[in-house]
Symmetry: C2
Subunit: 497 residues, 2 copies
């Protein structure tokens, strides 16, 4: 019969499990200390006694005691009189719970710590915090045709890369990103977009949002002015705001950003954030004279230009326009793009091309704030582009989206003649639609939503600009049947008003 | 015989290629405009003429003219007298090159745009900008044993996920990260680390660096004070600095951060950045009394605690200690960890656990500055953990690293007795080694490097602390043979002094 231990021993409620014996014993003793069954200052049984009492190896008890000592529950040296620590705060001991605040001069409940003032700059995000499943719903905007994405091909390319996975690919990488992917992107941007760069100017990031966020901090101090297109992409203006920039809305007309207007109202801006290839949301292309005027302004003012090469791959009536970056001889254009729309949104890969002069500081900043995106997806993307799949996919999508855009235009012309007018031409995944006389923007959006037709009010994109009433309609992710159905429902809504 | 065109037509140097006809024609005309063969104001041939002249479809010419008009090279309406634009700047026309700056009042070359003042805060990164291939070299620190990583198993898990890849997984995701991965991590942190959280408090990020960078901006305004461990992890102090924080170095002793010392020198700090499980670089564990004192300070001062749960998985002589977060009843601990060391560095996935009270603002900030890491790697990681592979891998690595740590300790005791002393116990991938009397830290590091033995001087980790001379030695990534060889070489170096 076992000899009684010299002190209280918490009873075993069930046999110690073989696999978790040490852990169970630890929990048992810790709980007994926390609820004061083992009181501060009490000497605990010797390891020999405890081992015998609980039927475990002595080494297990030694390990558990060691653990409790190292955490401060026990003190003294194992084997030479181990006692329950006196230094544990009373609150912890009496409640068996995490420490409650000590009584202070007042009896108010403790105040939670507060956030920084600048955290308030993040208050306004245009991105859904819980993205809803709106895929395939007319006329959800900013969505590529994921049902037409070659999932099996992507899986095959990725699996083939995985089969060749080596230890080297697991090791720490370059803050610029995978060297092969940077090479492939530099080549692609050169031939398809007229971007003049070497692979060492290309940074791989999670997307345009991260690119602009980084740029904003590197070129703007808090309070510095930045031009943003008005109407324009809210993701850009909000992230500039979050970095402390002062937004200077600059109007957009049929030739793109009105550079002279920007010069009139805020000549001292340090950055201009533009979408020359396909203005978001109006879809206009920045004309060459405007591009040159913008570059000239940047040169005279020693300002930077952030070129968001958004949706440039999708033009349906002419070849995509070369990028502004290709016209920049001074090194003031920062060129960014993303694979979220051309491949798929959850890929989270994009790029930022910077002038040689700032490669080092960008690399240092990247290595501090994020380092680099996962290497394996970068390698798979490099394979996908190198093997020609990317160019083929773009071509297929260009045809598909052109078809869908035409279907939308036709359907609207047939059934919504006076109510909704689409501009000529077309690019990207969405189109603006101008509302006819007598229609009120928010009213149309709300009524349509009640009939399961999603329209984005243009108001969402404006800062100060006066705009005629209009909405944004996505078409790229919708089959022709869905488009027709959507237009029919919308016609019923607008007729019934 | 074709009728001559009414104006200059650039000669075809080679036949237009069928596949790139439109593009070639565009380039041909654009080049002619840029080098003034087609002069400003010149009327260009009709589309019909040009089509006949070059033997292409008229539609092709219409498209090319449309493109050139939309870019500003041509003006006027197609078919109604199209002329080369007058508005092109002379510089562009005369050089066929990107625009040069217009002459201004001075004749100095144009000044490049400058960076922000705060960009200078990024000047100092502890991460290599071009990571060298140091794998397997004694005693490179901070490296897991990639040669022992189950590459094939990872590839199998990933390929299996790829085979089940659906359109839904391609769509835009949650700024918190993949819901299943967050659930798996919450469960793992609960059982293995004593972290008390629900999946909706878990954010998936690229790692601890990104987590601290985000936290710094949300809880600190420029100039706000933050406690950092001294010596401590340079990645943490540099990123705090980059966010504008004022660093308050707080000494570390055998029980971890000296809370009372921090209170004496900078009581008003708004954030304490700590490594309680395994202090970087000294390897000590923060004692329970210190943990409670730190929580008490945070409560009284309404400050935040950033818990970097660095290397907590690897303890060789006792169970890993529960996290500080589990003791926090107020909601002031921000708990971060990474899979870079437990799986592989190029994975770039980690997590940040935040109190319920700030989930929303963190989600908004994440959605603005980066959104979320690629979903597919997140899904693969969730599979790897769920299937039990992660726990098994950790167990295997714990045994392997313990073996390697013992080999290092034995080898050093045998051959470097008086020169280098390792502390008792052990955790993580590296150990500090204290240099014996008469050895100078930088001298030893330099001499060792000349003999291909890499030692990190502890100086690299200190801010103000006075430390005895010491070095950091990595062991986790080295075979026992490499360890022995390294110690032998090091012994020769130190003996030869």
């Amino acid at each position: 019969m076992p000899r009684r231990a010299t002190t209280y021993l918490p009873p075993l409620e069930r046999p110690l499990r073989a696999r978790t014996r040490q852990r169970d014993l630890y929990e048992l003793l810790r709980a007994a200390i926390l609820d004061r069954r083992l009181r501060p200052g009490t000497r605990v049984p010797s390891t020999r006694e405890l081992a015998r009492e609980y039927g475990v190896a002595r080494g297990t008890v030694v390990a558990v005691y060691g653990q409790l000592v190292s955490e401060g529950y026990l003190s003294g040296r194992v084997g030479a009189g181990t006692v329950v620590s006196e230094t544990l705060p009373d609150e912890l001991l009496s409640r068996g719970l995490p420490p409650q605040p000590r009584s202070t001069t007042t009896s108010h409940p403790p105040l939670k710590p507060t956030l920084s003032r600048r955290s308030r700059l993040f208050v306004d995000s245009p991105f859904p915090l819980r993205p809803a499943a709106l895929a395939g719903q007319a006329f959800v905007a900013h969505r590529p045709a994921l049902d037409a994405f070659p999932v099996k091909l992507w899986a095959r390319v990725a699996s083939s890369r995985l089969r060749r996975l080596s230890g080297a690919a697991l090791a720490d990488g370059d803050p610029l990103g995978d060297a092969r992917l940077r090479g492939v992107i530099a080549a692609y941007l050169g031939s398809a977009r007229g971007v003049r760069c070497e692979p060492d100017q290309v940074f791989i990031l999670s997307g345009t949002q991260q690119a602009l966020e980084l740029v904003a901090r590197l070129v703007l101090d808090p309070g510095d002015a930045a031009w943003v297109e008005d109407p324009g992409y809210p993701g850009a203006s909000r992230v500039l705001q979050a970095s402390g920039a002062t937004l200077c809305p600059v109007p957009v007309d049929a030739e793109g950003l009105c550079v002279s207007s920007g010069e009139d109202t805020s000549p001292r801006a340090r950055l201009a954030c533009v979408t020359p290839a396909h203005q978001a949301p109006l879809g206009v292309v920045m004309s060459l004279p405007r591009r040159l005027a913008l570059l000239d302004w940047a040169r005279r003012r020693r300002a930077w230009i952030f070129e968001d090469d958004y949706d440039s791959e999708y033009r349906y009536e002419s070849r995509p326009l070369p990028a502004l970056q290709g016209l920049d001889s001074l090194g003031c254009v920062l060129h960014a793009g993303s694979f979220s729309k051309t491949l798929f949104p959850s890929l989270r890969l994009g790029y930022l091309v910077v002038p040689h002069s700032i490669v080092d500081v960008v690399a240092r900043a990247r290595s501090l704030v994020d380092r680099y995106p996962g290497i394996l997806p970068q390698a798979v993307l490099a394979d996908f582009i190198e093997d020609g799949h990317y160019a083929r996919h773009l071509r297929r999508m260009r045809e598909l989206y052109a078809e869908r855009r035409d279907a939308l235009a036709r359907s609207i012309a047939n059934r919504l003649g006076g109510a909704l007018a689409l501009p000529e031409g077309g690019a990207g995944l969405d189109t603006v639609g101008w509302l006819g006389a007598g229609f009120e923007e928010q009213d149309v959006v709300t009524t349509a939503a009640a009939h399961r037709v999603l329209l984005e009010p243009l108001t969402r994109y404006r800062l100060q600009a006066k705009l005629p009433p209009g909405v944004l309609l996505g078409f790229a992710s919708l089959s022709v049947r869905k488009i027709d159905e959507g237009v029919t429902r919308l016609a019923r809504v607008l007729d019934g008003r």
